[in-house]
């Protein structure tokens, strides 16, 4: 397939996943605040911006981490490249350049999502957005489902999954990092009801609450970390994402495996997860571990760009 098309499908998929994650973080946070009560609530908006990695950008246009500011920044701020509206615009623009390569059903759903977000963003109101965030999440699931069931599972599909899995691994890592950092030092909350509520929120941010319960029954930060990092069965866990991404990467690489550096970079990532366990990670520092993980994720992403999307210096096949 065309390098340009592969790149567009990869990014279309990444941006959709990103928008869905932002929508989910916000919705979970809103619920969390109801549980915590107003006193603690106003401190809870800042992590949302930190999670998306855009603190510096936020301060360029907003003063305080108020509910209104944060919601606007993450939802409708077109200057924020990671806001929902920016992600959906980018996903749709990528889809538009490859609409002959994806199924009509997929294109139409992405187009509908885009128009829906445009309509809402014109109103610029951030109150009463619950159904809006729910819509974003559902639409993203629907589009992923359509890619599962209306696309041939060929190169296009693999590039879409590759993009989705790398994005998801990154987001799950970020949630864990930020929440762990914010929650753990507050010793007064350890083992308090708030502790369970907040770690429950972390799980919900990763759509992992129900599945976690089946595994560990009780909420405990140690087990939450283990589940979100190492589960090979839960589809938002970092290890699961890396394994799926690896499968797709190998599928698009085919017999050229030895010549494609991205495969080697991805193996580094896999080994990093396989060679350790939650005790070691927590002992050495979760933040440090996630830092290295995200660094390696970026290496993989750049390597994919060089191996497949960068179309200079190609050879004739």
């Amino acid at each position: 397939m065309l390098s340009r098309v592969a790149s567009s499908i990869y990014w279309m998929s990444r941006y959709l996943e990103r928008a869905e994650n932002v929508a989910r973080f916000i919705a979970v946070n809103v619920h969390l605040m109801l549980d915590l009560g107003l006193a603690r609530a106003d401190t809870q908006w800042e992590p949302l911006v930190i999670t998306s990695g855009d603190g510096a950008d936020f301060h360029k246009r907003y003063k305080e981490f108020t509910e209104k500011n944060v919601l606007h920044f993450l939802t409708f701020d077109e200057k924020n490249p990671n806001s929902i509206v920016s992600c959906i615009n980018a996903a749709r623009e990528n889809a538009r350049t490859v609409r002959e390569s994806i199924s009509s059903e997929m294109w139409e759903k992405i187009n509908e999502l885009y128009h829906h977000v445009q309509k809402h963003s014109k109103r610029k109101r951030v109150s009463d957005l619950e159904s809006f965030y729910a819509y974003i999440r559902t639409a993203s699931h629907l589009i992923t489902g359509l890619s599962e069931n209306t696309l041939s599972h060929d190169e296009s599909w693999h590039f879409a999954r590759l993009g989705r899995m790398l994005e998801r691994a990154d987001k799950t890592a970020r949630i864990l990092d930020v929440k762990y950092f914010l929650l753990l030092p507050k010793l007064e909350y350890v083992d308090s009801p708030y502790d369970a509520v907040e770690w429950g929120a972390v799980l919900k941010s990763a759509n992992a609450f129900d599945m976690y319960r089946k595994c560990f029954h009780r909420i405990d930060y140690h087990d939450v970390a283990e589940f979100l990092i190492f589960s090979l069965e839960f589809p938002r866990a970092m290890a699961f994402c890396v394994r799926s991404a690896m499968k797709s990467l190998k599928a698009v690489t085919g017999e050229n495996e030895a010549f494609v550096p991205a495969v080697k970079e991805m193996e580094t990532l896999s080994k990093m997860l396989a060679s350790t366990n939650v005790e070691k990670v927590l002992a050495a520092g979760l933040h440090e571990f996630i830092d290295v993980f995200q660094f390696n994720l970026n290496v993989v992403d750049q390597s994919i760009f060089r191996s497949f999307f960068d179309n200079t210096n190609q050879h004739v096949v």
Binding site: M1, L2, S3, E93, R99, E100, H115, F309, H315, V317
Partner: protein, 480 residues
């Protein structure tokens, strides 16, 4: 909303007789519409427009920074072409395309028609679309104009005329197919009763045409080449690639190595054999034509000249598309085929000719003046609707560059019932059927009916407020 108050006025109406009664062929349709509950027709109209919007069947408006997308307005009352009329049109279009293809080949090779003084040599060689880079070229299978969309109009005398040939990159076919897809859902009963010819196999015919002109052995790699996502017809380019299941490429996705054209893929460079290009001649190769073109592929013309890749349509076909050359098409048909033109031309005054130019200047108020190389309704003066300053402007333009202008009598374009704010009213239409030239010449039994939605307007172009309609070509037994 129904046909009760419909008035054809003094125009030829495609669906309704002068006495206000529907033409017999249109009866099932008119009856179905008249039987609808009030407001139902409007609701159906809105639903169709929404469907087009949701499917993203839109064009972008040039000059609009926000990249606003619009749907081409679609009117759900179809235009009907009776079977017996279609048979004649089909023959006429095949005849015209065959002769024009011979003409282009002759112009770039022996120039017999110029030597025999049937068409003035200076007129041809002075055409902005005559490409000297194409001299001596002989495209695969001798075919230059693989894809054509000929504009026809019907005058108040009830006859069809050819208005323009569009031999370069005619657009609009995607609307033909999408309009049909939506229309079938709108009036299924009438559609079934009237035995409408299908159009959905256009993609197969197009693919066959492109495969046929490949010079490669085995299964050729066919692609569609687009200027990119910001082109106003981008939707159509994706649609055609999808209909044929082939790659849609931009200029930067292609590269030329040793006079072969390749696609840049995730697995390396992959050879290309046939390119259905939707980029104009001027922009296709910065090494040969416009040097500032970012859209084209450097070196593609040399690959083409060496026979390593086929371009459809061939470069240089615009020479027969020049509106001054158009005036000579009846003579061209006679010269190559020894036949009279089956579909007549609109009488045309070529300003390049001094006598005709004077006539045009003396009669600006009653004529339509057109620039020979512009399309889309640009560079046009409609005499009867013009103001004195506009006429003055055109008179001076014509005097400065007589070669660039032609004029035609103002036609009374036929009308057809269209949904308007106050009910169903007559609006002027033209008709663009699509012709493919491969192993055979194939005319798709259907086409794009463009409609001037503004009351009294004669300009049907989408860039000027025109809309479109589905066109129902009826089976051969269905006579007017």
């Amino acid at each position: 909303m129904n046909f009760d108050d419909y008035d054809t006025k003094d125009f030829f109406d495609e669906l309704v007789k002068p006495d206000g009664k529907p033409r017999s062929l249109a009866l099932p349709l008119v009856e179905q519409i008249n039987a609808l509950p009030p407001k139902e027709l409007l609701r159906m109209q809105k639903a169709s427009e929404l469907a087009l919007y949701q499917q993203g069947i839109t064009f972008s408006v040039y000059g609009d920074k926000k990249g606003t997308e619009k749907i081409m307005p679609f009117d759900i009352i179809p235009r009907i072409v009776p079977g017996n009329e279609w048979v004649v049109l089909e023959r006429g279009l095949k005849q015209r395309i065959t002769a024009l293809n011979m003409f282009i080949h002759d112009i770039y090779n022996e120039q017999k028609i110029l030597k025999d003084k049937v068409v003035p040599k200076e007129l041809i060689l002075s055409s902005a679309c005559y490409l000297k880079q194409c001299k001596g070229l002989s495209p695969p299978k001798g075919i230059w104009i693989h894809i054509t969309g000929t504009d026809l109009v019907r005058h108040s005398d009830g006859k069809y005329y050819v208005l323009e040939d569009n031999l370069r990159c005619p657009s609009g076919i995607s609307y033909v197919l999408q309009n049909r897809a939506i229309q079938k859902r709108t009036f299924p009963k009438a559609f079934d009763a009237m035995k409408v010819c299908p159009v959905s196999d256009y993609g197969d015919h197009l693919y066959d045409t492109l495969r046929y002109v490949s010079s490669a052995k085995g299964n050729p790699n066919v692609i569609v080449l687009t200027p990119g996502v910001y082109n106003s017809a981008y939707y159509e380019h994706t649609f055609l690639a999808q209909q044929m299941g082939v790659t849609l490429a931009e200029g930067s996705d292609l590269t030329v190595v040793d006079d072969m054209v390749y696609l840049r893929t995730t697995k390396g460079l992959q050879k290309v054999d046939v390119i259905y290009r939707r980029i104009d001649d001027d922009f296709i190769d910065p090494k040969v034509f416009r040097k500032d073109s970012m859209l084209g592929v450097p070196g593609i013309m040399e690959a083409y000249r060496k026979g390593n890749v086929t371009l459809a349509n061939a470069p240089g076909t615009g020479v027969a598309d020049d509106k001054a050359v158009y005036a000579y098409v009846p003579q061209i048909i006679k010269y190559y085929l020894g036949e009279d033109a089956i579909i007549p031309n609109v009488p045309t005054y070529v300003c390049w000719d001094k006598k005709q130019c004077q006539y045009v200047l003396d009669n600006l108020k009653s004529l339509v003046v057109k620039a020979v190389n512009l399309s889309g309704g640009y560079g046009m003066l409609i005499g009867p609707q013009s103001t004195a300053p506009q006429r003055k402007e055109f008179a001076s333009l014509i005097k400065q560059n007589p070669r660039d202008y032609i004029a035609q009598p103002t036609l009374s374009l036929s009308r057809t019932p269209t949904i308007c704010l106050k009910g169903i009213e007559g609006r002027h239409v033209d008709f663009r059927p699509y012709i493919l030239y491969g192993e055979h010449v194939f005319v798709l039994p259907g086409g794009l009916t463009r409609v001037a939605l503004t009351k009294g307007s004669l300009v049907v172009n989408s860039s000027q407020g025109g809309g479109s309609k589905d066109t129902w070509v009826l089976g051969e037994g269905a006579h007017a």
